[in-house]
Symmetry: C2
Subunit: 652 residues, 2 copies
């Protein structure tokens, strides 16, 4: 392969080497320097790494790290082993990749607009997204951070995915049979909705061993009610933890908490939800938010919260009818009745992740070079009144490197934490960390480190957030790719790096790209996912069920057009309306062949959508200009696809 050695990018040399290039002096160092100054990292020392961070790059020459040519290649016609379901940041969509190939299998429009499928354009999608009184979309932006799937028996059941919108505080659900968003709910009284996690069992009835609730954590403190009052009194601002019903997608209850919530996790027994928190100080500006030495991982006792709600020990905020209970530290001093347990962890923690055996919640330090291991059993003891100090639930706090953000698990007792500042993934053993914490000086928590390129955010392992964690693959979602790919202007693509974690040493498999800005994802075994390939026409109440039903119906100024598609034709060759009519076009695709979708694009009317086999969609618009406008099939359907078109005529 003739990869280019020459200068292609404004005199910045592109060295053909898999180790780090022009790392010094660019973003990473600027960030480290900036962060170091702001955070006082001088106080942090690294101890006990299996290999010092500085030597990890050299370790790439180690044969135990090398990947054989083609070892992980997916040959033409072969299928991937896993799905990755990934959030897409402020692009607002969700994405599906195949692993190990890294190929993008689908974009799922959620909080964005996508003329490819007609998301945000059809009446059906507008209803899911939500509209203003005038029928226009309430939002066409969003900021997804995390994706999680529905559980049964402690592993994915392949039914639903959920993701958050941090920008407009919405939760979206994706039906995994169609891989389409079917519900979006805006959370009341919330800004900065960041962490999200489904439950895995009912807290009371162990027979309900599947997801029925989705937990949502809010980061930003706001005045409650937020109608202009209290904007100058931060002491009155707070954030809410929200429980959404997994089926109805309605908000069940909320909890007033101290602190700004970052990430969430839920226990396998359904009894606990956990949220890392920063700014337990309640500060409104950065310096105040970082003044305390410890923040917390707060645990919520779901059974007690729901009992309190049932008993009416709740209040409401403004126009919202959602019951809110008080989970602040001050209101929950007696462990035996407490709704919450605030376990102190080093200040400004980031991720919290549960080990596959359900025993340990691991909080990543972010500003501290540590991970904090909290025993589930000891949190239960706290709520039983058998553990005096919440901090006693901490069973280990290994020093693992600079900027720990998120932790994944291999199901064999090892944890893998992304180190944002060190630009590494560190592998460490949970039991060894506990032994070390107890005083065993021979216990070595850190087992291995591998450089990633550069500055990883989330890292996640195959089936790693389930009881079926299989220890095969780990993905590092890196925030900066720098010169790892051909330059494409000022905005670089991000890197996803796939790592083999089957052996003692981690091996880097490949660099893949991700359009900004990927955040979290889950890696799901392919057999878990059972999709439908053809829609059921009866699922669409407005379906035009036979060609004979095709017609144009007028009701005053409203015109309803009923039409079908079957390759290579629409059922109507011409639609006639009058200037100023409000026109609704309903289109049902009668083709039954898998993947034989048709498009509907109407020239000069900003209308564009597709109908998959046996699917129905509709659009409503005003015919605001006279003339002849062709509508045509925008989605390749058939050899005569280019000829598939009809006329929309607006008479003066």
């Amino acid at each position: 392969m003739d990869t280019r050695e020459q200068d292609i990018n404004n005199n910045q040399p592109h060295v053909q080497d898999e180790s780090r290039r022009k790392f010094l002096g660019t973003t990473a160092m600027a960030t480290i320097a900036g962060a170091g100054m702001a955070m006082g990292l001088a106080a942090c020392k690294k101890s006990d790494p299996a290999a010092p961070a500085g030597t990890a790059a050299e370790a790439h020459g180690d044969a135990s790290r090398s990947v054989a040519p083609g070892e992980f290649e997916i040959h033409p016609g072969k299928l991937d082993e896993y799905y990755i379901f990934s959030s897409a940041g402020h692009n607002g969509e969700m994405r599906i990749y195949g692993l190990p190939s890294g190929r993008t299998l689908k974009r799922i429009p959620v909080f964005n607009i996508d003329p490819m499928v007609g998301w945000g354009i059809t009446n059906e999608s507008k209803k899911v997204i939500g509209t203003k009184p005038d029928g226009s979309l309430k939002y066409m932006t969003g900021d997804t951070h995390h994706v999680h799937g529905s559980y049964k028996d402690g592993t994915y059941d392949g039914k639903y995915l959920w993701t958050n919108d941090k920008l407009n505080s919405r939760i979206a659900r994706i039906r995994m049979d169609h891989m389409e968003c079917d519900k979006i709910t805006e959370l009341p009284n919330v800004q900065g909705f960041h962490g999200i996690f489904p439950d895995k069992c009912d807290p009371v009835d162990p027979n309900i061993n599947y997801t029925t609730r989705v937990f949502c954590g809010a980061e930003f403190h706001i005045p409650q009610v937020n109608d202009g009052r209290d904007v100058d009194d931060p002491s009155k601002w707070y954030a809410l933890f929200t429980c959404v019903d997994a089926e109805s997608m309605e908000v069940r209850w909320q909890v007033k908490l101290d602190g700004n919530m970052e990430l969430l996790a839920s226990s396998y027994d359904g009894k606990l939800a956990a949220a890392t928190q920063y700014n337990t100080e309640g500060g409104a500006v950065l310096a105040d938010m970082m003044s305390a030495e410890h923040d917390a991982c707060v645990f919520l006792n779901i059974e007690r919260i729901e009992s309190a709600v049932k008993a009416g020990k709740s209040f409401t905020i403004g126009d919202s009818k959602v019951p809110v209970v008080d989970g602040t530290k001050a209101a929950n001093q007696d462990p035996k009745t407490a709704l919450t347990c605030y376990v102190p962890v080093p200040k400004n923690p980031h991720g919290v992740n549960l080990s596959p055996d359900g025993k340990y919640f691991v909080c990543s330090g972010k500003l501290s070079p540590t991970a904090t291991v909290i025993a589930t059993e000891l949190v239960h003891k706290y709520f039983a009144g058998e553990l005096k100090n919440p901090r006693d639930a901490v069973v280990a706090e290994p020093e693992i490197g600079l900027g720990p953000l998120h932790t994944a698990f291999d199901g064999k007792g090892n944890a893998y934490t992304s180190l944002f500042l060190d630009s590494q993934i560190v592998k460490w053993n949970v039991d060894a960390s506990i032994a070390h914490f107890k005083g065993d000086k021979n216990a070595k928590p850190v087992l291995d480190r591998i450089d990633v390129h550069y500055q990883p955010g989330h890292t996640y392992a195959s089936m790693g957030e389930t009881k079926e964690a299989d220890g095969k693959y780990l993905n590092a979602g890196n925030k900066f790719s720098k010169d790892r790919f051909l330059p494409v202007g000022p905005l670089h693509v991000e890197t996803e790096q796939l790592i083999d974690i089957r052996g003692d040493k981690m091996r880097l498999i490949h660099d893949h790209t991700a359009y900004p800005e990927p955040h979290d994802a889950i890696i799901v075994r392919a057999d878990v996912v059972k999709t439908k390939q053809i829609y059921n026409m009866d699922d669409f109440p407005n379906a035009v069920k036979s060609f004979g039903d095709s017609r144009v119906e007028r009701h005053g100024k409203k015109v309803n057009v009923y039409m079908t598609s079957q390759a290579p034709n629409y059922s109507l060759q011409e639609i006639r309306v009058k200037l100023g009519d409000e026109v609704t076009i309903t289109l049902t695709n009668h083709d039954k062949v898998e993947d034989l979708a048709h498009g509907f694009g109407l020239e000069k009317h900003n209308i564009n959508f597709i109908v998959n086999p046996q699917e129905t969609h509709s659009v409503t618009f005003v015919a605001d200009k006279p003339g002849l406008f062709w509508f045509y099939c925008t989605h390749f359907c058939h050899a005569l696809h280019l000829e598939m078109r009809s006329r929309f005529i607006v008479e003066k």
Copy 2:
């Protein structure tokens, strides 16, 4: 690799084999059958294929076709050799891939909305896209089909890319230094703008040996003027060929033509543009459009057209001021003065592509199993009055297979044509075809065939549309992937298949995915592309050039907010406005580190955009609800990114 053998998809077996799976009985066959019936393909016989189509799949066992493990793998940290610039169909964007990896390097928002960058949200992008009188976007949909780059000396100069919007008849330009769309022009009097091609030289001044015009072909016939008149008289409908100025992006002139234009090409000497046409019958419905035995490839004499425009031999249509000349067959009977030359080709042709030596335009038959080779020199002779019959410009018409759509070249005299119905790429030799056409029975035009999966549309070779065609890679953009990838619901992803064309036999390198619906692309050597990595602050007239300029200025009900960003802060911690104010926020990013972009997301206000290093963007909106709304950095910038936020307060 444990690829799965089991049924994962509604009882449809996934056989782990690289040859064709469940090809029979699904879309492809339905399409072939449908097409066969509609087109009377029974009349077509295949002759002289080097290998019959049916045996191509078996040929995959042939060692000469096999790719060694890892042979084309791009290892972590290695760079790709080529860029692919690809259109994205009715998704409305443009895409950049790396080759041979197939990794997506960038999405360029063009006719769509992208909250990731703020495309369609910032004032600057709204100005490019175009707005209605009320300031809202005129369009947020589009349908891109083709991408072409600007030329100098017969090859790409890395300056501009252009793409079409078939849905709203717009042409967009991308600046290749920033890889961003900087201009969009709506073509007057046009619907179904499909083919697009830049010129490569001035037709008169050979010193202007670079692109100064972009040609645009329209497919749909419409009444001229299209204001409600003539909607029942198809004889008065016609389509226009449009010339757009490459720099100003203004429309220079238009030509009235017979037929519906499909694809375009332009000669290296700047003298000719070519457009394939169907429906030279001028029919309004499918049966009428396909009644004639021959349609045409029409050649436009650019010099004569511009002389006619200069001489005022033009008319205008409706409110449009663009001069239109008459290029119909009836008005151009004398070759010595004709503006156009209609070369008959078998009916309903599709692509037209120029060989890298500039000698031959190749039209693909679509409904005919042939390619038609037209000699550039003979077209020049026609315009000189030295060739009586336009059909005499045809020098070969080899039978190559079923459903020929587009042709690529390797610069070594061979052509590669996508066969939609055969689901193959066929390699054939141009000189051998000419010899065969002249009567040499020993000449064998077809050299090789390779199966692709399934139903290829465009195919294109590395540098294949330039004089520097290098014969390394060929990409087949396939319309149906069927079961080549993990299922993701009713709508499948499409396949891009990369083929090694360096040897005698084509070799399939890999299957990659493309979010629907990719169309055409160009493959450009990486050294051609020179991007800028940091913006110049002075290029933004509204830049907030120093932190000290940060302020909130009120002018009646209009409030202007001037702000800067530098990790990890915005320059204002609080912005206060009053309910009902029209607020414009202008944000300049003062970070200078490559790729250190900041986001600006304002909670509950549908505002989301980024500013790259030294870039400025602005948004304007009405503060329509009282309360406190956080705005925060949506694009990962720094270790304290999550803490980068400020308050927008709307007072009652």
